[in-house]
Structure formats: structure tokens, C-alpha cells
């Protein structure tokens, strides 16, 4: 029973990693209708920036703040420079651009900082905690808490602020929004900025656990993608719930289902998601878009 509890807790900790990146994926999808393959690499790159700042002497929370701002600006710039020329092209073109970003940002990080694994300072205390014999770290709890707070802030932003409303309008009804005076192009840029900022938060939360190297986000990206889709690709809540559920499911399946074992855990998790999608094509929290003919 104790082991089960430990596996669940480990699963939640891992799942919160997926959840935080899934949030960023959902933000871009809501803004643009595509999955941004480069999201993980952007998060990794901004995490390296944070690392560099701590190496230069900044305390971790300050580095965190500065990095989030830099990430936001970087995301906006990236959208204006790289994405804007292909905004109007078909979705596949944009997907390829995001793949191009993925590949080049990964290479850039390796070039600048090398591939040797680095420790990343954790913003949380390192003493391990124990509740009823189940061990976890303050880091694990911290990631979940930060993800939930981020989720809350984003939801508030989209639901309650004029800017958030304008962004949602620009994504769903670009032509009509233009007529209303909304600068659709800049809304898109803002979407990228937000997603980058969320990605940076995700990376900084994840790095102390998985350790910093240029490839640290690649495995997370697959799971985050799966989590986002499971939760409903347009739902931020879905992203977080999907991530946590996925994290726990993977751990439990891998540990307790003998014939699957460790090496087929990912395959099993993905199979489950596909099954869920076949039954509920819009994911757990998604809404099916009804088209008028």
C-alpha cells in the first residue's frame, strides 16, 4: 500500500512536469491552431539563460523573474520575425517552421553551453519531506503548486481581462476581430510571448529534477503533447489534469502490469490516450467544434 502511495506521488511529481509544458502547448494551440514543436526547446533555451544568470551571481528567484520576462520578449520577437511570414500559409508550413525552430534551437543550446549535464539550483528547500512514510521533495510539491498558480493566472487573464478577450477573439475570428479594431497580428505575438513565458517557468521548475542538458525537454515534449491532447487541446485545465493523470498512469502501468514492464510504459500510455481520443475525440475537457453546414 505504501509502495502504491509512493508510486502515485512519484507519478504526480512527474505528471506536474508534463502539465507545466502542456500548458504552454495549449496556449499556442489556442492562438494559432497548431502544435508548436519548438515549445520544449524554447523552454530549455530560456532555462539555460536562467542558469547563466545564476552562474553570474543572481539569486534564483531573481533569475527566474528576469528569465520569464526575457522569455516573453523572445517569444514575441520570434513570432514577429519567423512566424509572421508564414502566418497565412497552410498549417503544415507552420508546423515545418516549428520543427525548424526545434532543430536549430536545440543545436544552438548545445553549441553555446555544451552537452555536459549540469545541476540547476532549485528555488525550493531541498530537505526531503515524508508524509505517512511516502517520500517526496519540496520541489515536487512546488512544481504542482506553481503549475496550478500559473493555470489560475492564465484562466483569469483570458476570462476576465479585455486583453485576454481580445486574444481569444483574434484566434477564433481573425477577420471579424480586425473589423473591430483588434490588432490580430500582435495578439498572435502576445500569444507566443505568453507561451514562451509559461515554457520558461516550466523549464525552470523541471530542470532541478531532470537536470539541465540540451535534450532535457525532448522526452517531456512527447508526454506534454499527449497530456495536452488527453485533456483537450484547447483547455488549460485539461492540460494540467491530463499531465497529472498521465504521470500517475505511466508509473502505475509500468510498475504493476507485468507484461508491459518498463520499456513499454510510454507505448502503453500513448495507446490509452489514443483509445480515449477515439471514444472522446475532443479529449477529457475539450469541446467538439460543431460546424454549421
Amino acid at each position: 500500500m505504501h509502495d502504491l502511495a509512493q508510486q502515485i506521488v512519484s507519478g504526480l511529481a512527474q505528471g506536474s512536469i508534463f502539465a507545466s509544458l502542456a500548458l504552454a502547448l495549449v496556449l499556442i494551440y489556442r492562438a494559432m491552431g497548431i502544435v508548436n514543436f519548438a515549445q520544449g526547446e524554447l523552454a530549455m533555451f530560456t532555462t539555460y539563460i536562467a542558469w547563466q544568470l545564476t552562474q553570474m551571481g543572481l539569486p534564483i528567484w531573481l533569475a527566474f523573474g528576469v528569465t520569464v520576462v526575457v522569455a516573453f520578449a523572445g517569444g514575441v520577437a520570434l513570432e514577429r520575425i519567423v512566424i509572421r511570414p508564414v502566418e497565412r500559409a497552410n498549417q503544415l508550413t507552420v508546423v515545418i517552421v516549428s520543427l525548424g525552430l526545434f532543430i536549430s534551437i536545440n543545436g544552438l543550446a548545445g553549441w553555446f553551453w555544451g552537452y555536459i549535464v549540469k545541476a540547476f539550483p532549485t528555488p525550493f528547500p531541498t530537505t526531503p519531506l515524508q508524509i505517512f512514510g511516502v517520500a517526496f521533495s519540496a520541489q515536487d510539491v512546488g512544481v504542482i503548486v506553481v503549475s496550478v498558480i500559473t493555470l489560475g493566472l492564465i484562466s483569469l487573464f483570458f476570462q476576465k481581462t479585455k486583453l485576454g478577450l481580445a486574444m481569444r477573439a483574434a484566434a477564433l475570428y481573425p477577420e471579424q476581430s480586425r473589423v473591430l479594431g483588434i490588432r490580430v497580428g500582435w495578439m498572435l505575438a502576445l500569444g507566443w510571448g505568453l507561451a514562451s513565458a509559461v515554457g520558461a517557468i516550466s523549464g525552470i521548475m523541471i530542470a532541478p529534477v531532470v537536470f539541465l542538458d540540451p535534450n532535457m525537454m525532448q522526452s517531456v515534449l512527447v508526454y506534454a503533447f499527449a497530456a495536452a491532447v488527453l485533456g483537450g487541446i484547447e483547455s488549460p485545465i485539461g492540460a494540467v489534469v491530463g499531465g497529472l493523470v498521465l504521470g500517475v498512469a505511466i508509473n502505475l502501468i509500468g510498475t504493476y502490469v507485468e507484461w508491459i514492464g518498463n520499456d513499454l510504459r510510454l507505448a502503453a500510455a500513448l495507446a490509452i490516450i489514443v483509445i480515449v481520443l477515439v471514444v472522446r475525440p475532443a479529449g477529457l475537457f475539450g469541446r467538439v467544434a460543431v460546424q454549421r453546414v
Binding site: S10, F18, I103, I116, N215
Partner: protein, 418 residues
């Protein structure tokens, strides 16, 4: 001809020309042996410079730096070495294509330090069939030494993983005879080789292994595996993992309040990794960890402060790779293996042939590799093709590795593998 047809023809010709343009430079050797001219020896190799295994690309860069050093100091019997080193993305088909080009187009003398078991397995039949030496491959799989009769043009270099695991097994039998052993291993040939070695080393005491858990390189974290291994009640923990996962394993074990005796494979035992684990998991995560070494550790500044070999390495790095992180063991490995290659070439003298070089490589006694752990002799014979078989066990105490015991030669165990 319509404009469209002309255009299509142009595209076709352009495509062919484009393809030709990627072939790179060609050296036309004029002396008897391929890849050797009066002034130059041409070597070829592939490393991952893109994709998930890119960290190992630094081995190739270390080799390049060392070769530049050699060229600036008289070369090899008057000839300079040119090393054509390309990115294979750790993909066997890509490596095969590049090696074909190196052999048929660039006409290299030998292939040197190709990296990865799958890559080397894929190119081995072709190279042996062409009679091109496949020198000092950068992997610890046992097949290079084991299958030499079928593939006489191939030779490895580093201690093979099985022998390293046997060493750990012997240490367990000697010092912890009642241990309950848990194993974390990477789910590929690397991890499997270690497992095979451990099982052979434990022999009749196989039942000491109470639980094994694997991970994929695509797993973000090994928390679940650690929980499973802890739950087995084991008091000894073998970590057969690459650095990122090894660090995670040590940290998570400490966080889950599990403090077994830890044996760590040497790839992940470099000082920066231990310090990273200590920082994230506290001292209890790393104290008493046991590992082995066959090379000096460039990141261990305290121990090797006055060491001539280390000083020499640092000078080479400063001069030829000034922006690189000298602590990265991959560069160090590259310089070290490059030293052996140049040693073999020098011994072959002015009259350089492929056969001669293979003969020397399989009858080698190299005692003066400046980067090998003190006392390690690189030694081969025609029927024993494991150049490095000596390792020293060490324990992590506080902030450094402390050698325990003496240099052990696993030659006898390795021979028993055949």
C-alpha cells in the same frame, strides 16, 4: 522543348550538381597505400554532432585538437594527419552512407573512433570486406574483442562494460557477501552488457539480485524505477546509467530515504556529476559510492594539480579548443584515444600500410599514455583484442574519489568471456 520541360531538365541537372557539391574535397593519394601521401595520412570517422547523442561529439573534437597538436610538433614521421569527421546523428544508415563516402570518395587510410555500438556494428562488415582498418571504436561492447576472427580489421579500445561489471560483482562478493542487489539499467545494448557482466561475475550467487528495473533514454525521470527498487528491500544498488539518469537515481534514492551501497558505472562518475548529485540530493546521496576509473578525471583539479599528463592536456585544450569546457570527459577521452592512434601510426614508421598498422595495433604495449590512470598499460595481442583491461576501484568520500585497493587487471575475466 517547352520552357516547362527545360525547367524540369534543369532541375534534374541541378539536383545532380547539388549532390556532387556535397562530396567535399578529394585527396588523390600518390603512394602505394590508399590514404597515405608523402605529406599526409588521411583518417576518417563519424560522431553524433546532432540529435540526442550529441554530447559524444566532443570526443571527435578532442581528437581533432590532439591531431592539430601532433601536426604542429612534427607530425607522424614527417606526415600530417588529416581527420575527416562527419555527423552521423547516431543513425546507422547515415553512418553507413558516410563511411562509404570516406572509403570510396575520400579514400581514407583507416576509419578511426567511430562511435556507438549500432553504428559500428552496421559499418563493420563493409569495412572488413574492403580491408579498411576500423580502429579503436568508441564503445565498450564486448563484440569488438570477441568477434575478431570474423572481423579482423576491427579493434576496440576502452574497457568493455562486462569486465567493469564483473569487477563490481567481485567487490560485492568480497565485501558484501550477504547483499541484496537492485539494478537500474539503461534499456539498450549498453545496459544489457553491464547486466551480463554482473550476472557472470556473481555466477553461483545470482540470487543476490533481487530486482532489476530498466529505463528508456526517453523517460524524463526515473522516480518510478527508484521506488520499485527501494520497495524490493535491496541494500546494494547498481547504477548502469548514463550521467543524467545516474545523477537522478542517486538524488531520488536519497529523497526516498533509501541509502544502499551504490555502485556507479564509470561513465557517470566524473566529478561534476557527483557534485551535481550532492547539491540536489545532499551528501547522503553520494557518500560511499563506488566506481572505477581507467583514465584520469579532468574535472578532478585537486587530485591532478601537479600531474604532468593533466597539464599537457590542459595546454592542448587551451591552444586548440579555447572555448571548450576542459572538464568535459569526452574531450579527455578523445585526446587519450588519439594518443594511442598516433602511437600506433608512429611505430609503423615511414612505410605505412593498412596491414602493418593492424599488426602493430594487435601487438601493442603502450605504457606512456599521459591521460590513462597511472599504471594502466594499453596492451593487445593478436588473439586478445581488448586494449585496456585495467581499472581501479574508488570510493567517493566527501568531495573526491579515493582509490581503494590497487589497479585490477580484468584480463583473465575477459578472456573467460571467449
Amino acid at each position: 522543348m517547352t520552357p516547362t520541360v527545360r525547367r524540369k531538365a534543369a532541375v534534374g541537372i541541378f539536383a545532380a550538381a547539388f549532390a556532387l557539391a556535397v562530396t567535399g574535397s578529394t585527396i588523390a593519394p600518390v603512394s602505394a597505400e590508399t590514404g597515405v601521401t608523402d605529406t599526409e595520412i588521411l583518417l576518417g570517422g563519424t560522431h553524433p554532432y546532432s540529435g540526442p547523442a550529441s554530447a559524444y561529439g566532443n570526443i571527435g573534437k578532442g581528437i581533432a585538437a590532439y591531431f592539430s597538436y601532433v601536426n604542429d610538433h612534427g607530425g607522424v614521421n614527417g606526415r600530417k594527419i588529416k581527420y575527416i569527421d562527419k555527423d552521423d546523428g547516431y543513425s546507422p544508415p547515415q553512418a553507413v552512407q558516410i563511411v562509404h563516402q570516406l572509403v570510396e570518395q575520400d579514400k581514407v587510410f583507416a576509419i578511426f573512433d567511430t562511435l556507438g555500438t549500432a553504428v559500428n556494428t552496421a559499418i563493420r562488415p563493409y569495412l572488413n570486406q574492403q580491408g579498411v582498418p576500423q580502429m579503436f571504436v568508441a564503445t565498450g561492447a564486448s563484440t569488438w574483442g570477441h568477434d575478431y576472427q570474423k572481423f579482423p580489421w576491427t579493434i576496440g579500445w576502452q574497457p568493455d562494460y562486462q569486465s567493469e561489471a564483473i569487477l563490481y560483482a567481485q567487490d560485492i562478493l568480497l565485501n558484501h557477501p550477504n547483499a541484496k542487489v537492485a539494478v537500474l539499467y539503461q534499456n539498450d545494448d549498453y545496459g544489457e552488457d553491464y547486466n551480463a557482466g554482473l550476472k557472470r561475475g556473481l555466477a553461483k550467487h545470482l540470487s543476490m539480485i533481487v530486482k532489476m528495473a530498466s529505463y528508456e533514454t526517453s523517460d524524463p525521470s526515473v522516480g518510478s524505477q527508484i521506488a520499485t527498487l527501494k520497495a524490493s528491500g535491496a541494500d546494494t544498488f547498481m547504477i548502469f546509467a548514463t550521467p543524467k539518469f545516474a545523477i537522478q537515481a542517486m538524488v531520488l534514492a536519497a529523497q526516498q530515504s533509501w541509502h544502499p551501497t551504490i555502485y556507479l558505472n564509470n561513465v557517470s562518475a566524473a566529478v561534476p556529476f557527483m557534485l551535481a548529485a550532492a547539491k540536489a540530493g545532499g551528501q547522503s546521496a553520494v557518500s560511499g559510492v563506488i566506481s572505477t576509473a581507467y583514465l584520469k578525471d579532468p574535472a578532478n583539479h585537486a587530485r591532478y594539480a601537479g600531474d604532468a599528463g593533466m597539464k599537457w592536456y590542459n595546454e592542448i585544450m587551451t591552444k586548440y579548443l579555447p572555448a571548450a569546457d576542459k572538464d568535459d570527459g569526452n574531450y579527455f577521452y578523445g585526446v587519450s584515444i588519439g594518443y594511442t592512434m598516433v602511437d600506433v601510426l608512429k611505430r609503423a614508421g615511414k612505410d605505412l600500410t593498412r596491414k602493418k598498422v593492424m599488426d602493430i595495433a594487435t601487438n601493442l604495449v603502450e605504457k606512456d599514455n599521459p591521460l590513462a590512470y597511472p599504471g594502466v598499460t594499453i596492451r593487445t595481442s593478436p588473439s586478445f583484442r581488448y586494449p585496456i583491461t585495467q581499472m581501479i576501484a574508488a570510493k567517493w568520500l566527501g568531495t573526491d574519489w579515493s582509490p581503494t585497493g590497487v589497479l585490477v587487471d580484468t584480463r583473465a575475466m575477459t578472456m573467460a568471456e571467449k
